[in-house]
Symmetry: none
Subunit: 232 residues, 2 copies
């Protein structure tokens, strides 16, 4: 892409290689983000430059999560490190126990993530479903709580501001100035509809855009300023 074709082989000129690396790296990260957002895919991208510098992209900025999932995915195939029988002692035992627990946890987690369901009976499916349903309720409740707390904080701030402005108005009274904007804001925050909006936003689609893509509009139904306030 560009003025000249490029052979698919190492660029020998060091300067060109560095420049190309810089350009293509940003292009690659961009595309990784795009496919993640556009296609609802989970992506992890790791790039080490020749000199060993690290660049990375991960859906939701959480490489940990991607790698965990990757390891879980290829766990079954890889036979997880055939334990070395030569190294003796309780260390090996400890280690084996740990691995066993890890495996159990991972299997469970798979189920909680809706994967690997074929091995479950109908009854087990029922159990998991109930568990997840209950968890979802807790989570939505917690979200609601957070949102209400945020609203309280905001309201307090607005009232303080209201007070300040009132004082200022007093001072400016002789000039017959009227500050109407603060009144509008207060009304918005007092409106019961606002609270309802948050409630439905929480229940509705749990979609959250990738942390890396700040440009796009949110699909949560929440206004940007609210998300920004809440995300902290």
């Amino acid at each position: 892409m560009g003025r000249g074709r490029v052979q698919l082989k190492r660029i020998e000129n060091k300067i060109n290689r560095q420049v190309t690396f810089s350009k293509r790296r940003s292009g690659l990260l961009k595309k990784a983000n795009e496919i993640s957002v556009l296609c609802d895919a989970e992506v992890g991208l790791i790039v080490f430059s020749t000199k060993g510098k690290l660049f990375e992209y991960a859906t939701d900025s959480c490489m940990e999560r991607v790698l965990e999932r990757y390891e879980r995915y290829s766990y079954a195939e890889r036979q997880l490190v055939p334990t070395d029988p030569t190294s003796p002692g309780s260390w090996t035992l400890e280690h084996a126990k740990l691995k066993a627990r890890l495996e159990v946890l991972q299997r469970n987690q798979k189920h909680y993530m809706g994967e690997d369901l074929d091995s479950l009976s109908m009854k087990e499916l029922h159990n998991v479903e109930h568990q997840l349903d209950s968890a979802l309720k807790h989570i939505r409740s917690r979200k609601n709580q957070l949102m209400h707390e945020s609203i309280s904080v905001l309201q307090k701030k607005v009232k303080e501001r209201e007070k300040e402005l009132a004082q200022q108005n007093q001072w400016d009274q002789q000039n017959h100035e009227i500050n109407s904007s603060s009144f509008v804001l207060q009304q918005q925050l007092d409106s019961p509809h606002l609270g309802e909006a948050y409630q439905s936003a929480g229940v509705d689609n749990g979609e959250v855009e990738g942390a890396n893509s700040q440009q796009q509009p949110t699909s949560t139904g929440m206004p940007q300023w609210m998300l920004r306030h809440l995300n902290g």
Copy 2:
């Protein structure tokens, strides 16, 4: 790129999303390979589709090496698990890694069970909610599938029984005996309304894409006799 511009947001049409995913995925893998070769970089790329299928690229086809390097790199910064200096060697490191992963998994699992939510930010809550919602859809879909299979089996059995009874009726014809109970049962299973009930009970067939979460009641709408049959 292409005939129309594309907003950087999730493609809602699921067909288009899938097609775009396929195209962009190959493009992304290609570019990952190109930068790796051209610029002598070490690259690891992991992509999970919405449905959980894994695609990957790694320099020299060795994701293991890339991930190890990555962990080493970010270990230094993150000070994860201060290595015990008394017992040296890779064993300790391996062990520490295992423990760290176990801890992470346990923490995650708690979250997936709706516990220990206070430590989560709003964004993280959103993510967990989305994940659980998606998992629930998979589980309900799987349940549905099981139910349909069971129904097929039952129908087959009933038809066999029907045949047997028909023969018996032939033999008993001279006595003018009529077996009415089998007729009733056959009617129940043939009723189209029954099938519809199962369809609406779970997620409709394999579709898991729709992100919107209906906090539908956990109850499946299945009659007890069906459950009893399926639970085995």
